[in-house]
């Protein structure tokens, strides 16, 4: 009974957050563009309806199976991320003693599904997007590994439930100030946004989704928002204390913190410029990776 309720709650939250993210995206875009946005709350729904009623076009000799699997897989990985997050002490949908590593596995599978999405249409711009995403997606994942291990150190556990409990006195965002900013960069990459959008970027006219039309386009955009929700929930649990908080019930706190992270990710994706891929590669290996080492060392010293 409780499991059924939890699953229903998960889906209700997912739908609400997808809608909220799409609205926030439109508002943020409209504010920066300096022009009025007309009903940002309804435009995403209307566009979704339009995509649903458009024809599904394919290229010549596409890989249909992998195109479907990539969309379904991206959706499922975001969902798994959300299900790994504890909504109360010892209450999570997927109870694993190694849930942080399971989230790491989700991150690496995201690289695979985004690659497949660029591979399957059998078209040059989409394939370039797929290549580039792998090149950036793999090193940025290394960075997240170190940040997550650092967060696991004070809890002495790889379990997200223990990591949340270990933040009852002080949140990880204060204890490990480098952690959250680095992790948010990973979130930008996982959701193909702004400065880390090497897959679906404007210089490739939409990259991996350049050839997607109608329902395929809708499915991919929804999957991106599901992943954004999953990532934000994990980030809120690892760095902002998840369900911990006074007065309000735990799940509500988790929802508030998830939305806060989501807002930051969406804002950054519109505000920060994207650099060419070779320059980003240098930045990750020379700048960001040593920073994540520093984060790990500080966390280790503190834990001792």
């Amino acid at each position: 009974m409780i499991v059924v309720l939890a699953i229903l709650g998960l889906f209700a939250f997912l739908i609400a957050s997808i809608w909220a993210a799409a609205t926030l995206d439109a508002v943020c875009r409209g504010w920066i563009a300096g022009g009025g946005t007309v009903s940002p709350a309804f435009t995403p729904l209307r566009t979704a309806a339009l995509w649903l009623s458009q024809q599904r076009l394919t290229t010549e000799a596409p890989d249909r199976l992998n195109a479907l699997l990539s969309i379904a897989g991206y959706f499922a990985l975001g969902l798994v991320g959300l299900a790994l997050v504890p909504i109360g002490p010892d209450t999570t949908l997927i109870a694993l003693p190694t849930s942080v590593v399971a989230w790491g596995a989700c991150e690496s599978l995201v690289v695979v599904v985004v690659f497949l999405h660029g591979w399957s249409p059998n078209a040059p711009l989409a394939l370039i997007g797929a290549y580039r995403y792998v090149a950036i997606g793999l090193p940025i994942m290394l960075l997240s590994m170190f940040v997550l291990i650092a967060a696991a150190l004070p809890a002495q556990s790889l379990d997200l439930r223990d990591i949340v409990t270990s933040q009852s006195s002080v949140w990880n965002v204060i204890r490990q100030p480098l952690g959250l900013p680095l992790f948010i960069l990973l979130g930008l990459s996982l959701t193909l946004r702004g400065p880390f959008d090497y897959a679906d970027s404007a210089d490739l006219a939409g990259g991996t989704s350049v050839e997607a039309s109608g329902p395929d386009r809708l499915g991919w955009q929804i999957a991106r928002l599901v992943m954004l929700t999953g990532f934000s929930a994990v980030a809120a649990s690892v760095f902002l204390g998840g369900y911990l908080g006074p007065v309000l019930p735990g799940p509500l706190w988790l929802a508030i913190k998830t939305l806060a992270i989501m807002t930051v990710v969406i804002g950054l994706s519109h505000l920060l410029a994207r650099m060419p891929v070779a320059r980003m590669m240098g930045l990750i290996w020379i700048g960001l990776l040593p920073l994540s080492f520093l984060d790990l060392i500080l966390a280790g010293v503190l834990a001792l």
């Binding site: 010549e60 000799a61 890989d63 003693p97 690496s108």
Partner: protein, 201 residues
């Protein structure tokens, strides 16, 4: 009961996708069919309460198969469904190797006395695994791990596009001691990175 059903379903998936690796006509499908097979095995490990090994298998295989697939299409860019490929070569040798390894593994499984007592739930499998694998060598192993990682990062930093004295494509020539003077320090072989491409174009 539930566990048994899951076990058989995952085993079937692992075997079926392993078989697909040799039957599909696209490199990418073959690569990721292999990945699905490994993921199914990882999920079986989860059922057997080997949490870390199960999840780490998924994690490692996703990255490994991705890198493998990428390099394959970088060297043989056959698009998705446009140009089917034959994935099987060296029939005689591979049949022989397949039969030999099947017989060998079957004999090993059948002759080993496998433990039958189920693992108590909620055991510290992670801690046990670490002690079992590393034991007293924990410090040595961790030191070696960090050293290897530092070497990796160092190698990437050294080979990155921006060299110590400007762009990496311009060579690692230090500036002169005086304005426009000869480069300071050891003489570097000029243009060593560019010697081989002149004729082709």
């Amino acid at each position: 009961m539930m566990t048994s059903i899951l076990f058989y379903a995952l085993s079937a998936l692992a075997i079926w996708s392993g078989w697909r690796v040799f039957r599909v006509d696209s490199m990418i499908r073959a690569t990721f069919a292999l990945m699905v097979s490994f993921i199914a095995v990882g999920a079986i490990a989860l059922l057997l309460s080997a949490d870390y090994i199960g999840v780490a298998t998924v994690f490692m295989m996703a990255v490994e198969m991705m890198v493998m697939g990428l390099f394959m299409i970088m060297f043989m860019m056959n698009p998705a469904g446009l140009n089917p490929m034959q994935m099987v070569h060296q029939y005689r040798f591979s049949i022989g190797a397949g039969v030999a390894s099947f017989v060998g593994l079957s004999v090993a499984v059948l002759t080993t006395a496998l433990p039958v007592s189920p693992l108590p739930p909620g055991g510290e499998t992670l801690r046990d695994l670490g002690t079992e694998l590393l034991g007293n060598s924990m410090l040595i192993f961790e030191t070696a791990g960090v050293t290897l990682l530092a070497t990796m990062v160092g190698a990437v930093v050294l080979s990155s596009a921006s060299g110590r004295f400007g762009s990496g494509s311009q060579g690692a020539q230090p500036p002169g001691l005086t304005e426009g003077g000869a480069p300071a320090g050891r003489k570097v072989d000029a243009g060593s990175g560019h010697s081989h491409h002149g004729g082709g174009h």
